[in-house]
């Protein structure tokens, strides 16, 4: 008994500094952000003057045209890119798990886009999609079509950014799903094979159901990351034309940094954190249901 108590005390004593460090790094900045969202911050005599704003910053959010456009576009962007990525990644992973020759090569090639830094992704695609001298425009010219200004037209800009995101992030989903597929129990497939199941039946009735939790976790993870998209929009379109590619992170950047509205920017940030947390809770609850147990 005394030994157990001593062990517990030792555990607390050794873990407390790390826990405090984590709190200091992770929680305090968020608390600071929340506090800031109730103030308007102005600079006087080289010092910050925090003026109480109550809920005014939050009340102003619905009327902000960049917030509403940003939220809508973010949801559309995240849904479109994640759905496309998951479908592509699943079939690539399924195919890669079945090939015998050159598997390592395929896997390496398929994950290459993930290794490209965001700034390079922006440069590559800005050049590639340029209507005047971009590769895509020139290819369209070869077949007699007019070049399309993918990033400059309101009708195509968001779609183009989604495609760039798909190119960049599909490998991430592919890796997770491939690990999931390769971890599935082989005896189930052997039993199905003995029962005469065809490959498409194995896919539909064995692989997909068993992969569902992995698919869900990957999709949720990707959705959360896609919801925070910033670099692709910043580098490719700057949120335009008009508000066609305005996303919520870019709105925060503009309000918080460009316009220096720290209080209002914080209020939008807190709202977005709340939304992301809400999505996570819902997704975890759904996962719990799929696995037949509460989240």
């Amino acid at each position: 008994m005394a030994q157990a108590q001593a062990d517990r005390a030792f555990r607390y004593a050794t873990l407390t500094p790390a826990a405090l460090f984590l709190v200091a790094l992770g929680v305090l900045p968020v608390l600071n952000l929340v506090a800031m969202s109730f103030y308007t911050i102005v600079w006087k005599n080289a010092a910050a003057d925090w003026q109480k704003a109550g809920l005014a910053n939050y009340a102003a959010i619905p009327g902000d045209p960049l917030f509403s456009a940003g939220l809508w576009n973010t949801v559309v962007f995240a849904l479109a890119s994640v759905v496309i990525q998951m479908i592509l990644a699943f079939f690539l992973a399924y195919w890669c798990s079945r090939v015998r020759m050159g598997r390592t090569l395929y896997r390496t090639v398929l994950i290459l886009p993930l290794l490209v830094p965001g700034i390079v992704v922006g440069a590559i695609w800005k050049l590639f999609l340029n209507p005047e001298f971009g590769f895509l425009g020139q290819m369209l010219g070869v077949v007699g079509l007019d070049p399309i200004d993918w990033l400059g037209e309101a009708q195509t800009a968001l779609f183009a950014v989604v495609m760039v995101d798909v190119w960049h992030w599909t490998p991430f989903c592919f890796l997770l799903l491939l690990a999931g597929i390769e971890g599935l129990p082989r005896d189930v497939y052997e039993a199905a094979s003995i029962d005469g199941a065809r490959p498409w039946q194995e896919l539909l009735w064995i692989t997909l159901p068993m992969m569902l939790p992995t698919i869900l976790v990957t999709a949720v993870f990707r959705f959360v990351v896609a919801f925070k998209v910033f670099d692709e929009v910043y580098l490719l379109t700057g949120g335009g034309p008009g508000t066609a590619t305005q996303v919520i992170s870019y709105t925060i950047y503009q309000r918080f940094f460009t316009e220096d509205r720290a209080g209002f920017g914080s209020a939008i940030s807190v709202s977005v954190i709340f939304l992301v947390c809400l999505m996570l809770v819902l997704a975890l609850a759904a996962r719990g249901r799929l696995q037949g147990r509460p989240a």
């Binding site: 080289a46 910050a48 400059g152 034309p241 503009q254 940094f257």
Partner: protein
């Protein structure tokens, strides 16, 4: 004995005078000056500034470090530096859209507070007196203290294809009607577009492109900022007329991608011969006449931006000022003043001009080199500069610019109609100015 006494006094006085004279001499190499740190943006005029800094180092032996950033990145780094206990940069190269924030926030040290003996050379163009500031009255007039050194009186000019004008027998447009007619005459898409407009949304992109039209129509953003009258004029008849004209020019002779054109794309269209006209900053000129970067070398000409008949040209100042950070050590502040003392000399300014910079000294602007073909921008620049207008004199200007950037870009992108766009922007600016406590209204 008295002779000896007088001799010692004279000798002491002589030594002191010599020391003062040497210290006050422009370009004096003060061996103990620390390395000067300057944060600057990577705009088209940067190469000229870099050359002049190199020359300063060569002449004086003093060292300068330049931290070069994109336009918006420079502002963010400046904010971060001035708001910390110890500043990272001695000199802030501030744009017209944010220098007020630095003055009002108390982040800049008056040059004359660092060195009371410093005098601004009378030949220096004071950029609508924005280099002066009175912290008590919050005004920018020549009665205030010298808070910054002008480094680039950047204004937009009309770039036009002189070779095509000659071929077609066109005359240089002075009015908006003439500009529209000429742009339409040369508009042959997709080979060449009548005009390339900078319609993208940025830190200061489409709004800066729109100001010469707004001012050229006799309109404005506010009634009289110097007098503290912030009545919003954007939504009046002149503002609407300017917007209508801007869109007419876009529809009838403009580059169709204007909604996604920032400065780089406009210059690219000009330099590749795809645009017959553009209203662009004078600081971009070296790129247009550089054989390694341009297909229209010696073909482009410049003129003051057009206006309505009877009204003066109305370019907006997009100028750059160099301020001294308050939160840096005193010896760094003195090093900054030493640089300014050298930079404002006529010789340095002429060197700056030859290196591709846009000078702030009358001696350079009126130098005989203006007769040379290479410097053909100097005459229209000198004509337009006296009419240049500084759009903002208050620290919340980035918020107003953001409203204009979004609103104007939405109009050009077709998300909203011109009239509705102007009215929405006016309402938003009015609301903002009211919330910030300025004397405002709708004018």
């Amino acid at each position: 004995m008295p002779t000896h006494f007088i001799g010692r006094r004279l000798a002491t006085a002589g030594l002191a005078a010599t020391a003062l004279n040497v210290v006050a001499r422009p370009g004096f190499a003060q061996a103990k000056l620390p390395t000067l740190s300057i944060v600057i943006n990577n705009s088209p005029w940067f190469d000229g500034f870099k050359s002049v800094v190199d020359q300063y180092e060569k002449e004086t032996g003093n060292k300068v470090e330049l931290d070069v950033n994109p336009f918006g990145g420079s502002l963010e780094k400046q904010r971060s530096s001035v708001r910390s206990a110890k500043g990272q940069y001695d000199i802030l190269i501030m744009n017209s859209s944010w220098f007020a924030e630095m003055y009002f926030g108390g982040f800049c040290e008056a040059i004359t507070d660092v060195d009371p003996s410093f005098k601004l050379d009378p030949g220096i163009y004071t950029c609508d007196d924005t280099c002066f500031f009175d912290p008590a009255s919050k005004t920018m007039t020549a009665q205030g203290k010298l808070y910054s050194m002008p480094v680039n009186p950047n204004i937009p000019l009309l770039y036009y294809r002189g070779d095509l004008y000659k071929q077609r027998g066109l005359t240089v447009p002075k009015t908006f009607d003439e500009l529209l007619a000429n742009a339409k005459a040369l508009h042959k898409p997709p080979q060449i577009y009548g005009i390339a407009q900078r319609g993208a949304r940025g830190v200061a992109a489409v709004s800066y492109d729109f100001y010469p039209y707004l001012y050229g129509f006799g309109g404005g953003l506010f009634r009289d900022q110097k007098a503290g009258d912030y009545t919003v004029l954007l939504g009046n008849d002149k503002g609407h007329a300017a917007m209508d004209y801007y869109m007419k020019l876009f529809r009838e002779a403009g580059h169709p991608k204007a909604a996604s054109f920032d400065q780089a794309e406009v210059l690219q269209a000009v330099a590749t011969g795809k645009a017959a006209h553009a209203i662009a900053v004078i600081a971009a000129w070296p790129q247009v006449d550089d054989p390694s970067k341009s297909a229209v070398v010696d073909k482009m000409e410049l003129a003051p931006p057009p206006s309505l008949p009877g009204l003066p040209t109305g370019p907006a100042l997009g100028h750059w000022l160099a301020g001294i950070s308050k939160n840096v050590p005193d010896d760094h502040k003195r090093a900054a003043v030493a640089f300014f003392r050298w930079f404002q000399t006529a010789d340095a300014q002429i060197f700056y001009t030859r290196a591709g910079g846009v000078p702030v000294h009358k001696a350079a602007l009126e130098h005989p080199m203006g007769q040379e073909r290479k410097y053909r921008w100097m005459k229209p620049m000198a004509e337009a500069l006296p009419h240049a207008i500084n759009p903002f004199r208050f620290p919340e200007s980035p918020e107003v610019v953001a409203i204009l950037e979004l609103g104007l870009n939405r109009v050009i992108a077709g998300e909203t109609m011109a009239a509705a766009g102007i009215d929405t922007m006016t309402d938003q600016i009015l609301k903002l100015m009211t919330e910030k406590g300025y004397r405002t209204g709708r004018g």
